[in-house]
Every structure is written in structure tokens, then in C-alpha cells.
């Protein structure tokens, strides 16, 4: 089995983001960026499948500016075999690139790979922590006509080509069987705890192969704007309203009154 893992370069989860004065988006200048935590979970799962000998190659792919080499390097240090870097300066946080465009680019990467040996499984994070769309993996599966399971909390390899996947839902977990590969699986929080990339592996990752290709070259003559122009226009980005101070109530009756009549959370 050969696995492809898209890895997104996003604002680090610990950063307190600021909105640009023109409200066009979040200020990314001098902001710490990291590998999207859910993509990290996907990488970890792919590497574990390789360690269990269920997979023979793991390819990571990232879309973005030249700094994506760091994102790919982290994924390679965790155990991916090689990387693909789709070079573009467009922002990936929904203001410029959106899931439909991103899925189209990933589909192109898969087509290129299938001309060699083909990919059997795409493992994505369930969502990125900047756009929070949770759509790219599902759109990609739709475009390819591949089976998909989202919000995976556990993946078991049954026999060649069959995967048993536990899926998180709001009312509990359900188990689905993928009978035939290739397929797309998106990974949720409970799936695994990603390993730390060790320093020796971070250094060795420099020697692993990364193919760099521009968006224009990848789309081979197609109209880049037609493919990548967002379908939705971001009108403005604003900070959430500041949290209001809480109040104290004198007794339980007053509490119930507030919950029922003001907050309307109980009947």
C-alpha cells in the first residue's frame, strides 16, 4: 500500500492571532507557523502503517510558499519517505485558496503518481486549524470517486485492500469497512498521539527527496485562475466579541431562572 498525506502549513495553535486593520484576514507577518495538528495525526498513522509493514511508502505533499519545505521536513522527520511541494504564494487560510481548489491540486498530484505506481490511500487531517472547513478530503474523494471515511478514531488493516475504520460521530462511534482501495480517510484527534520528530531524524530528513513544482506546471496548461479562484469571497474577518463578565447569583432558584429565561438552555 502506498499512502499520500497532505500536510498543511498553518498558524501555530498557540499563537494569539491578530486581524489585519483592513479586516481582509489574519496578520501572518512574523507569525509562527507549524504543521497542522490533524495533518500531524495523519502522518503519524501513515508512518505506523509503514512500521506494521501494511504500507511500503508514505508521500507527504504541501501547498504553499517556500517555507513549506520546513513543514515537509517535519513530516519527513516523522517518517515519510519523500515529499512533494506545490509552490504558490496564495494564502491557504480560505482567503485565497479554498478546499475545492486544494482538492483539485491534490487530484493532479495523485494523477501524476498513478502514472508511476499509484497511491492506495490518502490520509488527511479532519480539518485545518486555520480554515476549519473539513472539506478538502471529502471533496477529493468525491472528485476521484473513491470511498471515504471521515473522523477516523481507529484504523485496522484487515487483509490486503480491506480496512476497518472506527468513525467518530456526535452520538458515538460507528465502524465502517472499506472493501476496496484506493480510498480517502480523514483523521480525528483520538486516532493517535503523534511522535516527536527527533533531532537526528530532522537532520536526516534533509537528504530525503522533495519534488518542487509550481501550481502552473502542475496544472499543465489549464487556466490557473479558473481552477483556484475561490468560489466564496471573504467579505471581512473580525475578532470575536470580547467575553462579557460573568455575574453572580444569590441562590439556585435565581440560577435556574437565568438558565431558563435568559440563556434559554433549559426548558
Amino acid at each position: 500500500m502506498r499512502i499520500l498525506v497532505p500536510v498543511k502549513r498553518v498558524v501555530d495553535y498557540a499563537v494569539r492571532v491578530r486581524v489585519l486593520p483592513d479586516k481582509s484576514g489574519v496578520d501572518l507577518s512574523n507569525t509562527k507557523m507549524s504543521l497542522n495538528p490533524f495533518c500531524e495525526i495523519a502522518v503519524e498513522e501513515a508512518v505506523r502503517l509503514k512500521e506494521k509493514k501494511a504500507a511500503e511508502e508514505v508521500i507527504c505533499v504541501s501547498i504553499g510558499p517556500k517555507q513549506c519545505t520546513e513543514t515537509l521536513r517535519t513530516a519527513l522527520a516523522m517518517g515519510c519517505d519523500r515529499g512533494v511541494h506545490i509552490l504558490t504564494d496564495k494564502r491557504g487560510d480560505y482567503t485565497e485558496l479554498q478546499p475545492l481548489g486544494i482538492a483539485t491540486l491534490l487530484k493532479k498530484v495523485l494523477e501524476k503518481e498513478s502514472s508511476e505506481q499509484g497511491v492506495d490511500l490518502v490520509l488527511t487531517g479532519k480539518q485545518s486549524i486555520d480554515s476549519d472547513c473539513g472539506q478538502t478530503g471529502t471533496m477529493l474523494a468525491g472528485m476521484l470517486g473513491w470511498p471515504q471515511v471521515t473522523y477516523a478514531a481507529n484504523i485496522d488493516v484487515e487483509e490486503e485492500g480491506r480496512l476497518l475504520v472506527e468513525r467518530e460521530t456526535d452520538s458515538g462511534t460507528e465502524t465502517l469497512k472499506i472493501n476496496k482501495l484506493p480510498a480517502v480517510i480523514s483523521c480525528d484527534l483520538r486516532l493517535n498521539e503523534p511522535r516527536y520528530a527527533t533531532l537526528p531524524n530532522i537532520m536526516k530528513a534533509k537528504k530525503k527527496k522533495v519534488d518542487v513544482i509550481t501550481v502552473e506546471d502542475l496544472l499543465e496548461g489549464q487556466d490557473v485562475d479558473a481552477v483556484l479562484t475561490p468560489r466564496n469571497r471573504v467579505l471581512e474577518v473580525v475578532e470575536p466579541p470580547p467575553r462579557k463578565e460573568g455575574i453572580k447569583v444569590d441562590d439556585v432558584d435565581a440560577l435556574l431562572d437565568k438558565l431558563r429565561n435568559e440563556a434559554a438552555v433549559i426548558s
Binding site: Y196, T198, L199, P200, N201, M203, K206
Partner: protein
Amino acid sequence: SSEHEPYLHQQHSPVTKFSEDEEMARDAVRSWANEELRPVVRQMDEEAKHRPEILNGLFECGFMGMEIPEQYGGSGLNFTSACLAVEELARVDPSVAILVDIHNTLTNNAIRFWGSPTLQQKWLPRLSTDTISSFALSEAGSGSDAFALQTRAEISSDGSYYTINGSKLWISNSNEAGVFLLFANVNPENGYKGITAFMVDANTEGVMIGPPENKLGLRASSTCPITFENVKVDASDILGEVGMGYKYCINILNEGRIGIAAQQLGIAKGCLDASMPYLLERKQFGTPIGEFQGMEHQYAQIATEIHAVEVMTYNACRMKEAGNIPFVKEASMCKLYASQVAERAASKTIEWLGGIGFTKDLLVEKFYRDVKVGSIYEGTSNIQLQTIAKIMREEYR
């Protein structure tokens, strides 16, 4: 000397701008320290002991073989990366930082510089993967006057081994160490020119580690007396040449003090990390206390001094990495100043936090206790001043 091209930017970029490798190393240490180490710092201080999973984590992540070449299981990075790792660890727990600092900047580097290929092959793989080391120099009668050491190494009649007798005191990491880089004199009649460096396996018969000192700070770091009673060490475990130990010692400590500066810098930054958010949140008289001018002046002053220490420390790193630039004065200066600034920062931080800073509810009281040894170990402040003065006199002669 380092295998790496020294990172000398052609366009004179700031010394506080690091290469991609160095940034990735720093980030890796910072993540691990915040996620794995921070939750257990208080416990380790209270129990006055390192936790095994922390020690294992240091090895697994590659923090114990920062500059050791890949072929020996190391991380293959440079001195600046090692200092960045020490700084990031100190920002969370100075006790763990000192263990990593001594191991990397003293033992590992001494072996890389002066060890025979056989010695390197024997020890470097162990030092990068599972064996903690200690630097066994100081004795009851010899601290600053290091070369007055009395531990004796007598050569056997056939010259194949040495028998070591003596005691060391104040040895960091000694409870956890699997090996000691020990300084003993093979020829006391020659004075310091008999001092020889030996790699002594901690399991050797006759090596006795005493109970750890009950210290004010750096409590998780074991500081023990060690007695050597007829300890037999193979001649092949001598580091470099007989009688050259004093020279190796001076040289390695010269650079080691840059590592200490990095540790002190980490402590100072850790103090700001702990206090600045509080200053923005805590209100008195309707105003966040961080906005009172009296407070502004204090934290701006401390931040300025921390910045100076940072620049001095990483500049000293680059001077050392260049390989042909003398840096002894600058290394002494950065250790001296870093320990002074860190002490001021720790003390001020407790004041800024008010009553709660004075309790064990926060970790700032721990920084205050941990920082004090900075002006004492690896060359007291007086020794640093003396070193600087001596070089200055030569410059003006």
C-alpha cells in the same frame, strides 16, 4: 573542531538569526519541554530527583548527542544548536538544562576533540543513546584552584592500566551518570602537568557515589561526592595524552561557560514568561499593573539586559564555531553577565508577582532558587572577572 561550515552569514545578519537547522532544533526542544517536561517540574524539584521518562525522552529526542556525528548515533548539529537546546530547556527547568549542558558541551565535546578514534568509537554511541556523563573535576580542597586536585592515578607495572584513589565533590549528574570524565594526577611531582583525563565507567569496582547534597536550587540535579577506591581504569580509557588533562580541562571549560550563559539566559526568559502575562491581567486601582510607569521601567530594563545577554551568548557561539577567532574573554563575559542578569530577573519577577510570587503555587520561586548557582559553578564570577582582567592587561601591554 566542528565538522560543520560555521554559519557565518555573508551579509552580516544578526547573531540572533539562526539557520533552518538551528530553528528546527530549537522548536523541537521547545515543544518537548513544554509538553513533556513542564508538567513534572514541580514534582522533580520536590522529590529532588530526575524522572526516568524525562531522561529517556532527552535521549530519544536526540538532545544528548547534539554535536555527535550521525555515524555515532548523534544529531550531527553544531554548538549554537546545543546552546539553543540548553536555553529552551532552562526556560522550563534549569535542572534538566544543566544535565544536558554538561553532557554535551563538556564530556561529549572533549571526547570529540581529543579522544582517539577507538575512544570515540567506544563512548560516543553510548553517550548519544543511553549513557549520561559527569565532569569529575572539583574536590573538597580544589574548587577555583582546580589544578590543586589530589586524586591520584598510579600506572601499573606493565603500563596497561591505572589505579585511581581519591574523592571528588560537587559533581553534577553523578547519581544518573553511567560514565565520569575524571581528572586525576598521574605524576604529582610535575604539578598540574601530571593531570590526566580518564573515562571511568560508573559501574567500575571501587567507585562509590555519596548521597546528593541537599541544595537550595537545581534540586532535581544530583550533586554528589564520589569516592574512588583502587579503581582500575584501562590505559585505553585515557582521553588524549597523559599529562594533558589540565589543558583539555581549561579549553573545554572555556567553551562550556557559553553553555552556562545559555542556561542562565533561559532562566531569565522563563522569568519573563511567567510574569509578563500576569502584569497585563492583574489590575490595581483600575489599571493593569503592567501599565504603571514604575513597572514599565523595571521590565523594560530587565528585557534590555536579557537582550544583551542573548546577543553576547550567541555571538560567543559564532566566535567559537569560526574556529580561528579567540573567544576566551567573550565566553567569560557572557557567563558572568548572564548569571548576574538572570539573578536580577528572578528576583524582580517575584516582586512583580507580589504575594503569589512568594509562594510555591508558582514556579518563579524555583527560578529564584535555581539561579543562584549560576554565579558559582563552572567558574565563579570572581574567576570570570580575573580571566577577563588578565586578557585585558595583555591587550593593553
